[in-house]
Symmetry: C2
Subunit: 218 residues, 2 copies
């Protein structure tokens, strides 16, 4: 039994949904509504002291942090692989992944938005510009990194889906949600479209999330 | 030949210095002065399009993102290991690592501070409070996660240094640099002190950095 503590708009949860789908693993979704702060409830904090999504329960163990969860899933369920074979290639894929997961997404999360609003008196428009700034920088860097490297193929690394794509797609979806045009980034845009042809990505998309999920209250 | 594009105050570079020392790998330091924006120069961007530190040049290849570099070093130079043996343990260590590397450090970097100052008119005191807020939250979560888990030993995971410690130490050094007391976090504090008994950590500390490094201008 696999349970994903999840929310449709959580980018980090989206990554894990993609990986679970790619690996063909059935899971139950436990919705933690970020809009009501459910991820900070004592009940959820007792599962994940970080108070962040996602958390994955598997065989009685709780795993946190999307990067750690994805590496675990890839090691335990190796087909299809989410990392290429050689260590140099793996380093490239992990670097593309981390540039999104570490150096972009955490700066643009709801908890950061809350601090900007509550402690720095930022208006909603300024918070939107903040997010747009960091995401635009991210997509611009990804575009350069992907377009300038022959290792890029139909997907971020060659012609097989990898962790780099698992990070790229939720980031592009967030960008679009903020009204950013991704056509300025043709390689990113092309890879995004290629991923969305893959059922595992399509089915993990927030738009596919059940419209009336059972919310977990605690 | 290994070259680390590095700066003494770069937390992410500090992580890689620790790992290189632990693995007993000799390297040359190429200083990129964050205070003058050297990491954004066209010369450095041609090496690392992300314009971030660190980058590691090894056997003619450039690796970026500390998490990707550390995984690479651990795979290529397995002794001493920076990750435990079982996948569940590895997931725990990677989660502790990522909580610092993804969900804390990127929010508190100089580039974020610059945006707060230049685009949101924040004063230096507000920027310091911002950093203190995120780092305090990080240390508080780490304290709970480490103190509540029997897997914690002399170090973050058992009695052997791991990636979790490689992330923890630079974060504690940053906290101290901001005037935060870490005594409120006794487990974090104890593990920090244990790490600093290890020569590889001690020699990677910013205080040990050459006082008159040769700056790279381009």
């Amino acid at each position: 039994m696999i349970t994903l503590h999840d929310f449709y708009r959580s980018s980090a949860s989206f990554r894990v949904r993609i990986a679970l789908n790619l690996k063909g693993l059935a899971y139950q979704s436990m919705v933690r509504d970020l809009d009501t702060g459910a991820q900070s409830s004592p009940g959820y904090r007792s599962i994940n002291p970080q108070g962040l999504l996602p958390a994955l329960e598997i065989d009685g163990h709780v795993l946190t942090q999307s990067a750690a969860i994805l590496e675990f899933l890839d090691a335990k369920f190796p087909e299809p692989p989410l990392l290429p074979k050689t260590e140099l290639e793996r380093a490239r894929v992990r670097a593309l992944f981390q540039f999104v997961v570490s150096d972009t997404h955490p700066i643009t999360t709801m908890r950061v938005g809350r601090y900007l609003k509550q402690s720095l008196d930022c208006e909603d428009a300024a918070i939107a510009r903040w997010k747009q700034h960091w995401i635009t920088e991210c997509l611009s860097v990804l575009e350069t990194a992907l377009a300038s490297d022959r290792a890029t193929g139909r997907f971020s690394h060659g012609n097989q889906v990898s962790l780099a794509d698992v990070a790229l797609v939720p980031q592009v979806v967030s960008a679009r949600g903020l009204g950013l045009s991704i056509e300025r980034f043709p390689t990113v845009s092309r890879i995004y479209e290629a991923c969305m042809q893959v059922t595992a990505f399509e089915n993990a998309h927030p738009d596919k999330y059940p419209t009336t999920p059972t919310l977990n209250k605690d």
